[in-house]
């Protein structure tokens, strides 16, 4: 008898879980009330990176003369064409997931999923009709949505969510971005490239507060270079729509006026309407579905993965959790390990991080040594005209094992995987520094930063000289 497994949600958690479960021989049904791919593919990772790729091309054209390339006429952009390209990229990926479902025999049922018991998922279609799916195993993968400031709902016109912003209906003359987290900072550089005057307001004392402090201070400087105004340590006291846009009053007394506001203060978890209690489950304080490291909820046979677990809001973490849940649901025994999760932030320049941040290590009372190396000391960075950036390696002061690698600079998100591998394999900073890195590449920066942990970077002047 085939195991019947039903997955609620088809984002990067749900669709990956579906394919893995099918590979393991289960009868798989996915319930999805929007498009396959979830936030990542439809509203997040992919459309934003596609838009950013357009602004990368724009910036390159603007700086063509630096490379001895002459362009004649005005360098400008065509917003409808940028949107068209974004839609094409997204729809290609959607088709890809649908084709994979077909190939692996995964049933996709349109409708909003809810649990009506421990072993029945109900899909409610747009027209109100329902379908109940009897399931041996259930995986909850309903994700998250943009969170609004209490009392200040998104209106899609003046006060935008990241879902509204990614539609890019227009480029406002000015925009106030509330929240200097990943989404806020990515959109800040994006809008700036397209010509908006950007002001970013952050409640915490620094931008990208979840990153290493050295990365935050570098990106704060890059925001300044890009003429993006950053106000930290300030809350929005009030915000109201005006004929010209919005006016916000900050907790420090400052008033900010802008044509639009983008609120990117975090994400709310999608457990409302899921009827968790009917299956014997209860949401946590933030609306999350609590799970253990095998992705099991407290109800046997019911698993949860991705943003809705409230653990780490990253598409690739959701995918790994989906694989772990699918394996365990079908007789396997796999656990999640979050020690070396790499992550990319697509600011200008990019950020890639893996493992512990320096402040985290210190908060845990760990004794560490760090090494940093600037991009501007790399020949390749000069050749590319991308000299802003640093690589930072954090190692245990006793064992020398690499605990964290943090990069801000061109291609950082791609480069950081070497760091994640070093952390996963328990490599020491000496081993990382002794590994031959190809010249000329940006990856040499990782070797040099690893060497710098012991004061041995070749391309740095002697301390104090």
């Amino acid at each position: 008898m085939l195991t019947r497994i039903t997955i609620v949600g088809s984002g990067p958690g749900g669709y990956v879980a579906a394919i893995r479960a099918a590979q393991r021989g289960a009868r798989v049904t996915v319930v999805e009330d929007a498009e396959v791919g979830g936030t990542c593919l439809n509203w997040g990772c992919i459309p934003t990176k596609t838009l950013i790729a357009s602004t990368d091309a724009l910036e390159m054209a603007r700086h063509a003369a630096d490379f001895g390339v002459e362009l004649y006429g005005e360098v400008t952009y065509n917003l409808p064409k940028i949107r068209e390209r974004r839609d094409k990229v997204v729809s290609t990926q959607i088709k890809g997931i649908r084709a994979l479902f077909k190939s692996w025999g995964v049933d996709l049922i349109p409708g909003r999923g809810s649990l009506i018991s421990e072993d029945v998922v109900r899909a409610v279609r747009k027209d109100g009709t329902t379908q109940d799916i009897r399931s041996d195993r259930i995986i909850i993968a309903t994700g998250s949505r943009p969170a609004a400031i209490p009392g200040l709902p998104f209106d899609g016109n003046n006060i935008l969510s990241s879902n509204d912003a990614v539609l890019m209906h227009e480029v406002p003359a000015s925009i106030l971005i509330v929240g200097a987290g990943v989404i806020g900072c990515e959109f800040a550089f994006l809008y700036r490239s397209l010509g908006s005057n950007v002001t970013v307001v952050e409640m915490l004392p620094r931008a990208l507060a979840s990153e290493d402090e050295d990365i935050s201070s570098l990106i704060e400087k890059e925001l300044k270079k890009a003429k993006i105004k950053l106000i930290t340590g300030a809350r929005i006291e009030s915000m109201k729509g005006t004929a010209e846009g919005v006016t916000a009053v900050l907790s420090n007394g400052q008033e900010v006026q802008a044509a639009k506001a983008l609120v990117s203060i975090g994400r709310a978890l999608n457990t409302e309407g899921l009827r968790l209690e009917d299956a014997g489950l209860a949401a946590g304080k933030r609306g999350e579905v609590p799970v253990n490291d095998r992705m099991e909820t407290i109800v046997p046979g019911i698993y949860a993965i991705g943003d809705v677990t409230g653990i780490m809001m990253l598409a690739h973490v959701a995918s790994r959790q989906g694989i772990v849940a699918a394996e365990n649901a079908l007789g396997g025994s796999v656990r999640m390990d979050y020690t070396a999760v790499p992550a990319g932030i697509f600011t200008r320049p990019e950020i890639g991080s893996a493992g512990l941040r320096e402040h985290q290590a210190r908060e845990r009372g760990m004794k560490i040594s760090t090494g940093t190396f600037p991009y501007r000391a790399l020949g390749k960075a000069h050749a590319m005209g991308e000299i802003a950036g640093i690589v930072k390696v954090i190692a245990d002061a006793g064992t020398d094992r690499v605990l964290g690698v943090h990069i801000c600079g061109a291609h950082a998100a791609d480069l950081v995987h070497e760091g994640a591998l070093a952390i996963t394999m328990g490599a020491t900073s000496k081993q990382l520094g002794a590994m031959i890195h190809a010249h000329p590449t940006l990856a040499e920066g990782i070797m040099e930063a690893a060497e710098a942990v012991h004061g041995n970077a070749i391309h740095l002047p002697r301390e104090g000289k």
């Binding site: 400087k221 501007r376 000391a377």
Partner: protein
């Protein structure tokens, strides 16, 4: 040629005093060492600064380097032209490449700074060290 109407700090900054105000920049030696300057992280007006502490940061194609304030005081004016054209410092370090004007809180600190001749002697010693 280093001018003789200004005072020099051992961290390669200079000061031109007019009453209680001091115009600050980096020396020709400093700009040569840095190479092509690509960005000056200008301080905000009204920032308080102490003598011998970091006033702001300069980025060149070679390095990111702090500008050390030779005197204490409050930033009265910043050279906004450096925002779009930081290379002015390379071209004219003692003139249009000035960085800030500070209202000094303790003008006697100027007495601790070097004259041109003392600075040039200091550079020679540094080189031989």
């Amino acid at each position: 040629m280093n001018p003789d109407d200004i005072k020099y700090h051992r961290e390669h900054a200079w000061v031109r005093v007019e009453g209680k105000n001091a115009t600050i920049g980096i020396t020709d030696m400093a700009q040569q060492q840095l190479g092509d300057i690509v960005y000056v992280d200008l301080p905000e007006r009204d920032t308080e600064t102490d003598a011998d502490s970091e006033l702001c940061e300069i980025e060149s194609t070679k390095a990111t380097s702090p500008v050390i304030s030779p005197v204490s005081g409050r930033v009265l004016e910043v050279n906004e032209d450096l925002g779009d054209s930081p290379e002015i410092i390379n071209e004219d370090p003692y003139g249009n490449g000035w960085i800030v004007v500070i209202t000094m809180s303790d003008p006697s600190e100027v007495n601790d700074l070097m004259t041109r001749d003392e600075y040039e002697k200091f550079l020679k010693e540094e080189e031989e060290r």
